[in-house]
Symmetry: C2
Subunit: 654 residues, 2 copies
């Protein structure tokens, strides 16, 4: 097998890189233990996944969820073990939202007394809850949400109502078929006065029969590109009454007499949880890149195409520079985003989010955008077979794509990063530590004048992490200054602030990207620097990844580095040369670097990316009648119904 | 309705643009007549498409195929009407390959006498044929195909055999379930001598029962990202015998005594048909761009987000410059690729392919790549709802994506364009007219030295089609020279020709792209110029599209225009300004420009892109139980099986 040969010449300790990527030896062992447990149980089998209808996918997912609950109880797993068990399923389970959104939301927006009423039921899975914010006609603009919760002092109730069809709650996960409760985001109306949107606990279905309650019209919203195990739902309310005390009362109170008190911090409570979610998206971007390129790189190392000079032996596809140029930047991104995600999570855990919050929205946008594109590049690099669902990449991509839109649509939230950068640049920073991430914005003028030619004399210089970081910093500084000037010019020409922003929005996004690229490159460099003292062999192999990431994206964004004055033709030529050098130096370790991510065959569920490289056998198996419902009968019923029926007498005029 | 308002201020005659895009008034009327016919027949209904399993999709497609055959016969349609009827179905039908590949292949590679044997049956739909070239382990590298056809002089037969699992034919359309014949591409072995790959007619299934014949193991290869109506198939042969006279004999003969004669032009017969297929892919790229942006632009014109200055009225999403920058370049590409596709088809029809053949492979690669990216951009620009299959864009994209791989994988065939350009630049052209497309390669040195600053003084100058065309020409010339130098340097450093090519392959692709961008921009400009005398109003509105296309891609590829020396900061700033001007000047006509493509609601099958803009109603309908199988029962069976079963006694330890 060629993959055995590939593995035999790896120049670094693969297992140690696994420990590094998977949070240490102990976590790696736990991951593997739980994966063995899951893979041994047929309930978790994924063989039929790519050919299943949505109702079947949903049913299978819920069977898995039930089994996890039972295993957790039987084995008395602690929190960490529970997370590892859940991760080992390697599938989307709708009820994840119970743990990720419903329970935390009860704790963070309802009073302790209220929480006592619902939490025990929710922990029992007796109450399954959705978080119902988005409406059919209104997404992230919460000010425009239409659902009302009108206080009725006579009965001490709130009346939940959808005044129009566009007010229908639409998208919340688990809302469609699973949830019997929802935390509904609705406009609180008291004595005719609109007090803005609030969380309200609303029961949707009978606890014993699961039948929708009166006035609740609820269901699944339909098939999606991915994530089809999940019953994203709709819910339309017709004057549904709940007790007044179902209003989330931690940050606001409504008394029986209709007196309303709002805490001043009601709207600001969620900064750190937003950053935590974005950190999770960035980390998962690293993981998704690594899954896609594990499949494509393994396949490219066993797939043959074209002949060697002898005219007889075929080349492996991975030996072509072009194929390397398509796949290795994805590998490099997997490590780069892993480093950034880890750094973000560390900051969140330490409670010291600081300036990171500024970048977190832009980082989510940048990393999820690149990852969508990268997964698709890997798919295309698998040629025709990448078009088959059995390759595993289409499902990975379909499910990943939601990240471009959830938690703030990418083009919307990237603007937040730029807005805050400009604000800080002009007004200074309050209550935020000036870290290495943002100190440059106070020296933009000086930094923007730097040029590569001042420090770079050869290709080798571009392999210097300081020079890489400084290059991205220079571009970020230039781009931010450029934008500021454009905005000022527009305002001088009579435009209002909002209109100037709107007009220059493409450059706003550009500035966010430039800043976030700088953060990623700098973090990657710092991560490797830290590793140098602990494990120089890993640091070395990751340095090549950093070089490729940094140089690749300088090439991809060459226009901006020219425009900022950082690069000229001499340097751009060095960058191209540097990329060629790194593609070839990474080549011998490529398969081992993928292995280090330790994605099991079960987790990849791919005919092309198997550890043993036997893609021919895998494709063959995936097409047989026990897996592919198209081949259930040897002769398709369609033959008699259409194919034979449409024949006409020979010689008759068509 | 906002769309009515949008349409009321269009500044050009929409219907006339429809005629221009749809091949004239007569063709437009025929299209509409056939669409009315199809849409009135419930057999062609697509309401359930996004929620159907593959066996159901396949069955429905074959019902449609049967109905088309019957309608054609009943109405005695001529060829043109037949094509219009087929197009009006707006769905993929597996048996299209009968007309597009099986019949033409019989005519072009089998002798007239042979054709007489099979054609009448094939025209009757009694014989349904696949074209079986690709194998599981071998795609475009036909030299490596493994299937053998061994001559047995004793019985005067050929023995068709798959020596390995990887030799299994894999991918051919209609092979899996529909075809009872295949033209099999196999190595002809005569008296132990391998005579290379040849076409052989092989019967696969019984004509009356459709049961596979002895030695034929055949089936469908599984679910794909798109095109799931089609039964792409596999077929493995175990010593299947066919008469010697089933060998395609037009360009080669094999006698009963085993004498083999090959015509000298056997392998070269297909230049013009390849160019025709690529022209069709480029034209369809224009159409696909227009479908995606029709959906996204209509939706953006009715979807609200954020407030106007009054703090009460919401903005339409399409009023944001950022949204325009995401969608209008797609609109511009639809017209640009339409112009190029039309030009290519015209050349093919006139028999004067000339230098166009050089560009056709690169054009197929470039246009299909941009179109994949553009459709996805439109999807993302629809926000969350774009993630629903009911939006119509996922299915459009999934089915379109095959174009990146079929008829030559994009990165493979783009190299052909560059290879031929270099060859001509160095050796001159034989038998090919030097047209405007390639004359520049003989003055590369001079052209590469030109700069925008020589001719451009203001933003307005960049709206000049000559300047746009010259800009792309300069970059193409520079890129080609650059590549030639890199290849020469590599060879001087001791690399063999193939290795030098491999090493610089990313720049090879870049040169192909630069050339093809030039072709597209030049053709677009010429098309509009021609139109000016006939219809200046259309020419004007299309000029804005040309400006946006040309400037947008200069911005996107800014690094290359800097590197070639064509642009500096002053000009790049003008280009950004020019793009802003065009986004805003296109805005009032945006919806009408989409309308002009005349995609019916039936053809788009999109909840977001309806002509009346009522996306709320459409989404609502798409989720109801009669369409969405997830909502068939009010209470899901999963409730008892898993959700209720996993509850544990309150207070018990989880």
């Amino acid at each position: 097998m060629n993959l055995h040969h590939e593995r035999s010449h790896a120049t670094f300790p693969v297992r140690e890189l696994t420990y590094f990527l998977r949070g240490g030896k102990e976590n790696t062992m736990l991951k593997e233990k739980m994966e063995a447990l899951i893979e041994s149980d047929p309930i978790f089998d994924k063989t039929l996944h790519y050919n299943s209808s949505r109702p079947v996918k949903y049913r299978r997912a819920m069977q898995k969820q039930r089994k996890i609950v039972e295993l957790t109880r039987d084995m008395q797993l602690n929190n960490k073990e529970q997370r590892a068990l859940r991760a080992a399923v390697h599938d989307n389970l709708g009820t994840d939202l119970q743990t990720l959104m419903y329970l935390p939301n009860i704790k963070s927006t309802f009073s302790d007394e209220q929480a006592k009423q619902w939490l025990p039921h929710a922990l029992n899975w007796e109450y399954i809850g959705a978080y119902a914010q988005t409406e059919m006609g209104h997404g992230s603009n919460v000010r425009a949400l239409e659902t009302t919760a009108t206080f009725d002092p006579k009965t001490d109730e709130l009346i939940i109502h959808s005044p129009t069809k566009s007010a229908t709650k639409w998208w919340p996960g688990a809302l469609g078929r699973s949830a019997n409760h929802a935390i509904v985001y609705a406009r609180l109306i008291v004595f005719g006065k609109d007090l803005g949107v609030h969380n309200i606990m609303v029961q949707l279905r009978d606890i014993d029969t699961h039948a929708p309650l009166d006035g609740v019209l609820v269901g699944d919203i339909g098939s999606k590109i991915g994530y089809n195990n999940q019953d994203n739902g709709f819910c339309n309310f017709t004057n549904v009454r709940v007790p007044r005390t179902n209003l989330a009362m931690k940050h606001a109170q409504l008394t029986a007499t209709g007196e309303y008190i709002s805490a001043p911090n009601r709207k600001k409570a969620s900064y750190s949880s937003m950053t935590a979610v974005r950190a999770a998206i960035v980390s998962s971007a690293g993981l998704s890149n690594s899954m896609a390129c594990t499949i494509a790189i393994r396949y490219s190392a066993v797939r043959k195409q074209g002949y060697k000079k002898d005219g007889k032996t075929e080349n492996y596809v991975l030996d072509y520079t072009m194929q390397q140029a398509r796949l290795f930047p994805v590998l490099a991104a997997s490590f780069a985003f892993h480093a950034t995600g880890t750094y973000m999570s560390k900051m969140v855990r330490s409670g010291n989010i600081g300036s990171l919050h500024v970048a977190s929205s832009g980082l989510k946008a940048l990393c999820s955008k690149i990852t969508c594109d990268n997964i698709e590049s890997c798919r295309k690099a698998c040629g025709g077979h990448g078009y088959l669902l059995s390759s595993g990449i289409p499902d990975l991509l379909g499910t990943y794509k939601q990240n471009a839109t959830v938690e703030g649509e990418n083009f919307m939230i990237a603007q937040q990063t730029t807005r805050q950068l400009l604000k800080m640049m002009n007004a200074g920073i309050e209550n935020v530590e000036v870290t290495k991430d943002i100190e440059y914005i106070f020296q933009c003028e000086e930094i923007a004048k730097r040029k590569a030619s001042m420090v770079v004399n050869s290709v080798e210089d571009f392999f210097n992490p300081t020079i890489q970081t400084e290059a991205y910093k220079q571009r970020a500084a230039y781009t931010l200054l450029y934008l500021q000037k454009k905005l000022n010019d527009a305002e001088k020409n009579g435009l209002q602030k909002d209109d100037a922003w709107n007009l220059n929005c493409p450059d706003v996004i550009r500035a966010s990207e430039a800043h976030c690229f700088f953060i990623v490159v700098q973090n990657f460099a710092l991560t490797i620097k830290e590793l140098e003292t602990q494990n120089s062999s890993l640091a070395n192999v990751l340095s090549e990844q950093r070089d490729l990431f940094a140089l690749w994206w300088m090439k991809e964004k060459m226009g901006e580095f020219y425009e900022s004055g950082y690069l000229g033709n001499k340097q751009s030529e060095m960058i191209r040369e540097g990329i060629r050098i790194r593609l070839h130096s990474i080549r011998p370790n490529a398969v081992a670097l993928c292995d280090a991510w330790s994605h099991s065959d079960f987790s990849l569920n791919s005919t092309l990316g198997r550890y043993d490289g036997k893609y021919i056998d895998a494709l063959w198996e995936s097409a047989q009648g026990n897996v592919n419902p198209m081949n259930t009968d040897v002769v398709d019923p369609v033959f008699l119904e259409s194919l034979k029926a449409m024949r006409i007498k020979r010689g008759a005029k068509l």
